[in-house]
């Protein structure tokens, strides 16, 4: 996304719903927002989302907002490694997902050991080719194990945005197409 200010709680929660073990929102440093205060307004969104995750039994530590990772590549790598390690240390701690209770279908497709990139919500790449209601969801789930091997922590970057259409965006695109028709 262009700015942490447009990250919604819904996008973060959807990332958890689709199997992410953690979500890192990497934003510009305090006072460095290109759009005045997007990164700081994101703090409120993240705070609220943490509250909701807590009720659902997902440890709030699994969602982190970092306000320092704009241009510093070294710092960013450090941050990912640190967050990834923290999430790994949470594994097994209650209330962790229990595979036995998982819906059977999801179990087969994407074992929860997977850590995957968070879904992103804008995605201009939104898929004209994706047709049929179930398609975007499937694409998302299948993406999970692939990413798992590659990357431990989750994060939101423009690079990843292009790969995977968020379901909601896909729906909207179709809606507009339908209206024209």
């Amino acid at each position: 996304v262009d700015c942490a200010g447009v990250v919604t709680g819904a996008a973060i929660i959807k990332a958890f719903s689709s199997g992410a073990d953690g979500v890192l929102v990497a934003a510009c440093g305090r006072g460095d927002c290109h759009y005045s205060n997007g990164n700081e307004s994101c703090e409120r969104v993240v705070e609220e989302t943490r509250g909701l995750l807590k009720v659902a039994g997902v440890q709030p530590e699994r969602l982190r907002l970092d306000l320092s990772s704009d241009v510093d590549g070294g710092r960013f790598v450090e941050l990912l490694e640190e967050f990834s390690a923290e999430i790994s240390s949470l594994r097994g701690a209650p209330p962790k997902r229990k595979p036995a209770k998982k819906p059977a279908k999801a179990k087969k497709v994407a074992p929860r050991v997977a850590k995957k990139a968070a879904a992103k919500k804008t995605g201009k790449a939104a898929p004209k080719k994706v047709k049929g209601k179930a398609a975007p969801k499937k694409a998302k789930k299948k993406a999970a194990p692939k990413k798992a091997t590659k990357k431990k922590a989750t994060k939101k970057t423009a690079a990843k945005r292009a790969r995977k259409p968020a379901r909601k965006t896909a729906g909207k695109t179709r809606t507009r197409a339908g209206r024209k028709r």
Binding site: T8, G9, S17, G57, K133, G178
Partner: protein, 397 residues
């Protein structure tokens, strides 16, 4: 496409009388929206075009039209079928609150861990197993989202537990509870309901509960009317808090202290028109000494909806309906509007925030009012020499 729905809802009986559109709170502020025309279009096979229209998502599913229809066409079910087809065709309504509540519902479908129950207040006693279970529904989630609005839904859940405690019941509040699926069901996503129903039924069976008490009429309506259609008869008794308490007040298990206030009562659509529970909440309020219940002109089956449902679509139309209802409540002379539905509390409190009239009423949830009355001293202030103001229920801060 909608043949099945037309058959099920008896839409072919439509007389084109227009009572539905005349009764519809949405049509009043959005003249292009007409239940009658939607039914006619479906009968004339124009349903494909309807799927993409915004009007498909405007219905509040309040049931006023169905209640008045001389041909007993079930327009609610018709809307639900239409939405299910719309969603299957890739159309959806506009989620309110940036979609966060829908995301929570989807998280609940796939949730496998246990919920957090640390919100239960220290003075509220709950147990892990017992014969009565309190189904909390979304209340702990709404507590996070609507804190800024000043609607304390966690407080509502705690008030409910305190009331149950006063009846000598230590209710089960289960960590394995799952979303009831009401909002998904009414916005055209019935696919998950069977799964949610089975999980909830298993959770209740595991707790050993024989009676399940609901604070939220929507969860209650799901359990009472929708779940049996998906999974057959439920192996336990379901009751709304007001029904449960009414039986206990009659047997004298709980009594209320003096609360000097004028209140009016908002009938929630699910509890009222859907399930016919009109009198129990009123009788409970009538049992509070000093509390005067003033009815709005449109009450019981004629009650006006709180203006929004299932977290889809919140526009000028919805706000207008809510303000209309608030004005009606204020005109009764009441200082507080009491409702039995947490969502009515949320929607009306939101509208009260930007109501530009000076006539404002406080919005309160019935469990909060009852719990406060239970804790109040008995005897009127006149007898006790206190000022009435001290015992008047404060409006939500």
């Amino acid at each position: 496409m909608l043949e099945g729905a037309i058959r099920e809802t008896k839409a072919y009986y439509c007389l084109e009388c227009g009572i539905c559109t005349g009764s519809c709170p949405v049509s009043r502020y959005h003249p292009q929206y007409s239940p009658r025309i939607m039914v006619e279009r479906a009968l004339l096979d124009d349903d494909e075009a309807m799927l993409s229209e915004r009007e498909c998502w405007d219905c509040l599913t309040c049931g006023t039209c169905s209640a008045r229809c001389p041909s007993t066409v079930d327009f609610n079910e018709f809307t639900r079928a239409l939405r299910t087809h719309a969603r299957e065709s890739g159309f959806e309504g506009t989620d309110t609150h940036a979609g966060i509540l829908r995301a929570v519902m989807e998280l609940e479908i796939g949730r496998t861990g246990a919920r957090d129950v640390s919100w239960v207040a220290e003075d509220a006693d709950v147990s892990a197993k017992g014969t009565v279970l309190f189904y909390t529904g979304c209340l702990p989630y709404y507590g996070v989202v609507f804190k800024e609005l000043g609607v304390d839904t966690v407080g509502m859940a705690n008030s409910t537990i305190r009331l149950l405690n006063a009846c000598g019941v230590k209710p089960v509040v289960s960590r394995d509870e799952t979303c009831c699926g009401h909002d998904l069901y009414w916005t055209g996503e019935p696919a998950a309901i069977r799964k949610l129903a089975r999980r909830n039924i298993k959770m209740i069976a595991d707790s050993g509960a024989e009676t399940v008490v609901f604070a939220c009429p929507e969860c209650y309506a799901m359990f009472r009317t929708v779940y049996p259609r998906f999974v057959g008869d439920l192996p336990f008794d379901v009751q709304h808090l007001s029904e449960f308490l009414k039986a206990r007040t009659e047997s004298g298990e709980i009594s209320f202290g003096w609360v000097g206030a004028k209140v009016t009562y908002q009938d929630p659509c699910r509890l009222g028109r859907f399930l016919g529970v009109y009198e129990e909440p009123r009788e409970l309020l009538a049992k509070i000494p000093g509390l005067e219940l003033l009815e709005m002109p449109r009450a019981r089956s004629e009650a006006l909806c709180c203006g929004s449902s299932a977290w889809v679509g919140c526009t000028r139309i919805n706000k207008s309906i809510q303000k209309e209802r608030l004005a009606e409540a204020a005109d009764t002379g009441a200082t507080t509007l009491v409702t039995s539905c947490p969502k009515c509390s949320i929607h009306l409190s939101c509208a009260a925030k930007d109501d530009d009239t000076t006539r404002t009423v406080g919005i309160r949830f019935i469990a909060d009012v009852l719990a406060e009355a239970m804790a109040a001293e008995s005897g009127s202030p006149a007898e006790k020499g206190e000022s009435a103001a001290e015992t008047e229920p404060s409006t939500e801060e």
